[in-house]
Amino acid sequence: MLKVVTPKTKRAVRALEKRAPKLVENAKKTLILQGTKTSKVLNEVLGDIYNLKKANGGAVRYTRKNENIRPFESGGETSLEFFSQKTDCSLFVFGSHSKKRPENIVMGRTYDHHIYDLVEVGVENFKPLSSFSYDKKLAPRVGSKPFFTFIGEGFETVEELKHLREFLLDLFRGEVVETLNLSGLDRVFVCSAVSPNKIVFMHCALQLKRSGTVVPRMELTEVGPSMDFVVRRHRLPNEDLKKSAMKTASKLPKKKVKNVSSDMIQGRIGKIYIPDQQVGGVPKANMKGLKRERREGKMKKDGNGVKPKKLKPNPT
């Protein structure tokens, strides 16, 4: 026998609706975690990625050791998929350190909480966020929409780098917006494919300076973190999976506008509702001038200043 189970509180309803599949999706959240062994560098890398992503609950950081996560091996993705389900994260960054693959980061995406694709990179020449010194006024605001620049032919010719480019864009782009405030542009990710298996990743602050034209002059200041990614293994998504993941809603449902209709001849017509005028009643006599305090105050003032006129005695 089956039973219908529904949430008991409104809060639970909201929480469930938040993670349901939608036509226009929420911003992707990132799960950051590590394997049984990490290094100091790797801890800092993961911490810095978390710092970049954590605005508006965009990232979840797991700090415990995780024993049985091996994303590239069959059976090694079970607990990762479970964590993805639990935290509602569809991006993950998994750090591990071994003799064979030192300073290793496996990045990947999930679709319907199952592994979609994977990229494995090694980190080199890492400079943490804290090691950069710059004018704090330049520091990018939390959660601002970044620019991306990808430089080098490697991003087009090498399959792994092409994949990595797509992933980096997905990881750091933040929320998808329709309108953008131009004065809020303050950060750039500069990725350059310097060799067929290596990219240089930099994070810069942006300054808009006067140039005499409409378009301001852009100035970049490196604010960190910066590192080199050496591509190791990667796994592209399954073709069928990719097809269904790339589907977009053919047309979004229009939001119903109340009280506005259109007409062939008159064009847009708006209805305005005005409450009925209350004609029957008499306004209460609560004018300011009739209040006791005012009356008394006025009397006092008159008493001090000008003496009230004496009443004329009745001529009788």
């Binding site: 569809s90 430089i151 991003f155 004065s183 808009l208």
Partner: protein
Amino acid sequence: MEIDLGNLMAFEPQHQFPPQLPSREVLLKECLDKGRELVQALAGALFELPSTQDPDGPLVNLPTPSFRLPREKHLPKPKPPTKWEQFAQKKGIKNRKKSKLAFDETTQNWKRRYGYDRVDDDKDVPIIEAKDTDEPGVDPFAQRKAEKKKRVEKQEKNQLQNLKQAAKVGALPSTVQLAARALPITGTKEAPKKASRDELESVAGLAGTATASGGKFDKKLPGEKPPKHPGKYRKFLPVVEGKGMGNQERQQSEKVLSQLLSKHSHEILDVNKAVSMFKVKEEKKRKQRDTLSTSAKSKPSKRKSFKKSSKKAR
């Protein structure tokens, strides 16, 4: 150069870095300069867009991204029509709007059509007039209540059926889950499940083989079938040399024989195990000796040794 304004992304596929990379500083400088150039180009395109003024700054509408990224979850699936909706479609029945309020004859008042304090509510009916068709001994009020209960139950059943249909295509509303009823715990009433014919047959077969004769001389019930797998499952390798299997048996026996008769018979000996056994024995002997010696001497000797070490430290 490719520019994607929707993602605020600029891509320069033409730029080539030299195969012999320059020093780190030079390389980073080159990356930054190139990045600046790209950002400038991106800004050029961005500030071209028509903008509206806002107290916080100029706002622009971004175009849809040209570089597409995968979804994180599947598109929401359309809900299948309910049984009633199917029926209504077939018959051409259309929904008409009903007002929420209706006039109640018994109380001569406007009331809600459904829900609490509704029209024709049970609590508003103090008297039900008897009819000729009424059966004696039936409480009309209780009957009314029971009928209502029945209707509600039927509706719940129908709802569950529709939800099951929706669950089949994966279009269950996000706030609804269909869960199995709780397992029967002692004290709760759950109708015992009826055993199926196959289950009974298999159980009967198992029970039959549990006698000393393996069920051979048992009385058969009318309609009882013989057990499905009489006899043994053990298999032997063929004795005669064949293509595959015969070879296997020979190898098997040869392996055993060679192990037994080999000149290097020390290889059969598990050296590690022997060593550990030897060690354990030694340890035991030493312990016995130690206990004897410690019981002979007593605490002072220990103190002495401690003092010695402390002296050494100085």
